[in-house]
């Protein structure tokens, strides 16, 4: 097993608020290998035998536990694909923190593709936090192509908080969800791109159970010459409520393309989408400048608040 160095510690702090080894169950993966693991009785972590990845098993009724499964990539010319399956027991309540940090000082590309599948049992509640961050002085690309599949049983609740705040050259994030009876999916996505970066995010949500709900809120800021694309496809197959909101701020020569699609297959489905893309409102800058901020400080304050 590798040891943790200063770069690893900094990345862990950024992506998972971790200062060293966390408490509770965790699995830290570095450059395609296991760095450290703690598998508990409430939350079990088991390596897959047929492919690269782990099974995370949360026992029924387990409450207020957290699981950290961060991934670090600190070399170039490396493509890491990992398959993680989460089996969330009935009536449990857990927080899963799954950030990934890339530090690439080389001219070769570094890529991490996490394929995560969640099977969430009846009445279970999951808060899933995924932070992506990259840095490094090399010309090599820093790429994330995550796939998240979520299956929610009756009364289950899934909160997805995904954040990407800089340094990622290219990302294509796919999220698929099937929401059962009385179940809820809440998504809060925040993306900041700059330079020549490109970020694509694609949601496909099926509201299949009676009284199922989904609320997807995406906030993005595109600077420099970066490009962002937001796609969502929500289908209401039952009496349900779905809401998609995509808010984007563009600066410099950047571009944001938003394509929300809603499909009320059932006449009882109620689906809403809102999208707004544009530069920072002039009156917001005026207000902050009237408080004594310079124009640049005002712009930074608006963006910081927006991505909160």
């Amino acid at each position: 097993m590798d040891k943790m160095d200063r770069t690893d510690e900094q990345l862990l702090e950024t992506i998972a608020d971790l200062h060293g080894i966390p408490e509770g169950s965790f699995n830290i993966r570095k450059n395609g290998k296991l760095l450290a693991r703690n598998s508990g009785t409430d939350v079990e972590i088991v390596s897959k035998t047929d492919k690269d990845g782990i099974d995370i098993i949360v026992k029924p009724g387990v409450k207020n536990k957290s699981v950290h499964i961060p991934v670090l990539l600190t070399v170039g010319d490396f493509q890491d694909t990992v398959y993680n399956d989460f089996f969330i027991g009935e009536d449990s309540d857990v927080t899963i923190v799954a950030g990934c940090g890339i530090h690439n000082d080389t001219c070769g590309n570094a890529e991490h593709d996490g394929v995560h599948t969640f099977y969430v049992g009846k009445n279970a509640k999951v808060r899933y936090v995924e932070r992506h961050y990259a840095d490094g002085s090399g010309t090599g690309k820093k790429v994330f192509d995550p796939v998240t599949k979520i299956y929610l049983k009756e009364n289950a609740q899934f909160i997805l908080e995904s954040t990407q705040l800089g340094g990622v050259t290219y990302t294509e994030r796919k999220t698929y969800a099937t929401v059962g009876k009385n179940a809820q999916l809440l998504v809060k996505e925040k993306i900041l791109t700059d330079g020549e970066e490109k970020a694509i995010t694609d949601f496909k949500v099926k509201l299949s159970g009676k009284n199922s709900r989904a609320d997807i809120v995406s906030r993005s800021v595109a600077k420099g010459n970066s490009l962002q694309q937001f796609k969502s496809d929500m289908v209401g197959k039952n009496e349900c409520f779905g809401h998609v909101e995509c808010d984007g701020i563009v600066l410099d020569g950047a571009r944001i393309i938003s394509t929300p699609k809603i499909d009320a297959v059932s006449p009882e489905a109620s689906l809403v989408h809102e999208a707004a893309v544009g530069k920072i409102a002039g009156e917001q800058l005026l207000k902050l400048m009237s408080l004594g901020l310079s124009e640049q400080e005002a712009e930074d304050a608006v963006i910081k608040g927006f991505l909160n």
């Binding site: 906030r219 808010d247 409102a281 009156e283 917001q284 005026l286 207000k287 902050l288 400048m289 009237s290 408080l291 004594g292 901020l293 310079s294 124009e295 304050a301 608006v302 608040g305 927006f306 991505l307 909160n308």
Partner: protein, 240 residues
Amino acid sequence: MLELKNISYSVKDEASGKKQDILKNVSLAFEDRAISVITGPNGSGKSTLIRILMGISKPTSGKIVFNGEDITGLSITERAQKGFTIAFQQPVRFKGITVKKLLELACGKKLDMNGMCDCLSAVGLCARNYIDRAVDGTLSGGELKRIELATAIAKGGDVFLLDEPEAGIDLWSFEDLVKVFEKLHEKTVIIVSHQQRILETADKVILFENDKPVSIGRGEEMFQKLTQRPSLCWRNVKEN
């Protein structure tokens, strides 16, 4: 002392292409430690005057002199740093910026609970209920208006420009609002208003009509004059 010297402001009418005067050759003086209220019909140039004082709009001609210094060319930021503070007629909404953050940006430092209570209780809001709320569409018009005033109080300064501060504030809170102005009595306060109660608190009332001040006087004497002018908008407001 804040002085406007021969200030004019005109815009080009987009439809006709003709020059349209919003303010024409306005000269006014605002004394220190006095509340001046500007009143007059809609469209007479009151808000434009406030925007010109704050540096948001640049006058077509004329000078603004503050304590002997020509500040006509100063930016909004520079005026704010010189002690000019504005409360906008229509407060701006910010997605994600909390009341706490906005107050901190206003006063330029971190604020503890006591500091936030001071600013918010002055406008009749309980800090505990508001500091973590975003300054966005989830707040009502009246709440936003109060928070706008609270940011002006948090910022502080020497010249307060308050553009229709009473708009959207319920009648029950009116007296508290008047107390806010009275507390600012040590400063130069310029209020645009149509409300009788605010006119009564003024040391000086300036009546605007058709792009310039037509009459200036002490609060009470101006009030007499205004009641004899049925064409003015404030009377309609009163009768309603």
